[in-house]
Subunit: 412 residues, 2 copies
């Protein structure tokens, strides 16, 4: 049997585990008996459209510890894109071009590591491939810090972001507790439509730290008066109140609390900022107390130095498994993580029909949030806790983590 | 000789190394032949005024690994204050009370770990003690992430904050480089009057990363038109431009840039923007390019999980040395770090007259900044580089760093 080649690409927003999945793909493909050269498509699907492919097999043999270092390097080694494929009924030229590229590079399998929108690309390519009778395997590997993909128990990238959020809340608590004057600190956390990452703030609680004292989710309509009452009640019990809030909270009409600054990206998602600032001003006006807001911002999705080993290992395993499943003929699907046991925590890898994943989003079940809508329940705590565990051994040089060079991207 | 007791307190804003100095004091005092019980004053000097003292000797014998864990725990284990002592010519009752407390607790030495304002307290207590003929040793141990204390080569706490800033810039660079579309990312860094911490962003540069591409300091008057020209020039050379800016930049009239824009949120509150946000608006208005601002905020002074071992070791050593110097009769001074060699990096501990430290601030020498005022020079790089080196071994449990409990503070 003549060996075929593979293409792998990364798409959507960064996480610190998406390179671990790439490392898994590379690691398995390099050992594969069916596959020869591994190409990385630069800037997601755009790399195929623009003929910008990188020979990853070569990197493995020339860069020392390539796979190990790739595993813990943040964001996308291959770059990303926010490109949405046209409907092929409207425009099949793009599809014809892509499958022509596959033919040109003798491709046997295409792996796309990404979130919701990236699975839309997997779905469309799968459909088109089916229509033209292609036998190229097309497999989606999930990632998103938002944890909002359906079917999979959780998403690669979420555990590390959750760990960053929990560690930050714990450190902010230490920072806040030092003064004896009453204060309110509001921490804004990413998650446009789902509060999974904001919920992870609760993992900061331990024997001495009760923060965060209030948590607000996109899943529960935000009520300004109730918020003020909540904060006042907390201030009657303790000196320093710490609040975790999702960037995506909305009022009962569905209007974003930060709506005054919202703009739309090309997928029609609102780009939000300033929810924490907004709550800061409510507290300032309604309660006369020292108040500060902190926006965790992009570091929650790129601070690889405090990633979760559980997350990195699972992400690597998904990449690796994608290759072996492709070898066995699997196509038109996304890999999933299924939790088979919580104590001890165990997962197995499954697959899901891509149709059931693409363009769908998973919110926190309402019953996993407390009745008042301002804290998590034990069941949500139990769900999240294992995902942040374990620390990777990251090499440092001159005081900084030694990530893999991204000199092949256009940035510098 | 009857043994005396000691009091130690912490004051001012947090750093991740200030507990290392406390650990050094405790470690040396516990082994001392002159000193018996070590008291910690809760909330800085306020603990003495309000009679809130904690028995640290007891903690050492009851809390497992107390000194080791204290060394890497962030912020102030004893709490802090922003309390300025009155002039004793106006009101010596406060001083009489403090020295009465010293007598009541049989105190032989008082150690105050803090920044500029805290050294003012050390100075005033020293003067008063001298006046009443007290033989109590009063010693200041420096700390501040701002690195703006005079005489000392650098300040404890600066190296760790600098490491956090450099690591964050590096990770933000990875996050930013993934898209092929042009973008500008502005990172706002603490330092109201001195640009030392902002300068540390340059330590993120390595074989593949040229970011930050522009750096703006409080030491150089900010010119909006020159800034726009700088950014345009950078965008002509690369896709993704990353800018580090101090929160304290001012225009040539000395007016803070952060004061120049205000926006309204949806509740109609006027919001005073941060400096980063302000530059974001300037870019948005003047250059049509994707732009984002990130405020590192309090995490740069409390993210102990990525502290500099060099910084923690020096801070510990200062605390320890303060005790032995007090035993030898030293008083009315602040300890300093003197750099005796840069390659290899070596420091010695010295002392400085407290009068020359208190209420003075040290800016970056103008010649350590490039002529254009938008980057550092090699001499500044060489000065900063050794300070961020080394990683402490921090114990993790359930995915999070295990810091020392602060349940004795009022927060919870």
């Amino acid at each position: 049997m003549t060996k075929k080649n593979v293409i792998v690409a990364q798409s959507g927003g960064p996480t610190v585990a998406i390179n671990a999945s790439l490392a898994g793909v590379v690691d398995a493909a390099i050992q594969s008996e069916q596959y020869e050269t591994i190409y990385g498509s630069i800037y997601g699907i755009l790399g195929i459209l623009e003929d910008r492919l990188m020979n990853l097999s070569e990197k493995v043999s020339t860069v020392p510890n390539f796979i190990e270092t790739l595993k813990f390097s943040p964001a996308m080694y291959l770059g990303s894109c926010r490109y949405k494929l046209p409907d092929y009924e409207d425009d099949d030229a793009t599809y014809a071009f892509i499958f022509n590229q596959f033919k040109k590079y003798n491709i046997g399998a295409f792996f796309y590591i990404g979130g919701n929108d990236s699975m839309d690309t997997v779905l469309k390519l799968s459909h088109y491939g089916e229509q033209i009778g292609s036998d190229i395997r097309i497999i989606g590997i999930p990632k998103t810090i938002d944890n909002d993909l359906c079917i999979t128990d959780h998403t690669p990238g979420y555990g590390s972001a959750a760990k960053y959020v929990a560690a930050s809340i714990l450190e902010i608590a230490h920072d806040t507790f030092i003064y004896s004057v009453p204060s309110v600190t509001i921490v804004e956390i990413m998650g446009r439509d789902a509060g999974w990452l904001t919920a992870a703030s609760a993992l900061a609680r331990n024997a001495y730290n009760t923060a965060p004292h209030l948590i607000y989710f996109p899943e529960v309509a935000f009520d300004k008066e109730q918020f003020i009452a909540d904060v006042k009640e907390q201030l009657s019990k303790r000196n320093n109140v710490i609040i975790a809030v999702s960037e995506g909270i909305r009022d009962k009409e569905g209007k974003y609390i930060s709506a005054s600054t919202a703009t739309n990206d090309q997928f029609g998602h609102s780009q939000l900022s300033g929810t924490g600032k907004c709550l800061e001003y409510i507290v300032k006006e309604s309660i006369h107390v020292k108040v500060r807001s902190v926006e965790l911002n992009v570091l929650q999705r790129c601070a690889a130095h405090i990633s979760s080993l559980t997350d990195l290992n699972e992400s690597f395993e998904l990449g690796s498994r994608a290759v072996s499943l492709a070898e066995n003929g699997l196509t038109k699907c996304m890999l999933t993580l299924n939790r088979t046991s919580n104590q001890p925590y165990e997962i197995s890898i499954g697959t899901a029909d891509i149709k059931k994943i693409a363009n769908e989003a998973k919110s926190i079940p309402r019953e996993w949030i407390n009745e008042a809508g301002n804290d998590i329940t034990d069941v949500l705590y139990t769900y999240m806790a294992p995902l942040i565990k374990g620390e990777p051994k990251i090499a440092y040089a001159d005081g900084l983590p030694t990530y893999l060079s991204v000199e092949h991207l256009d940035a510098n």
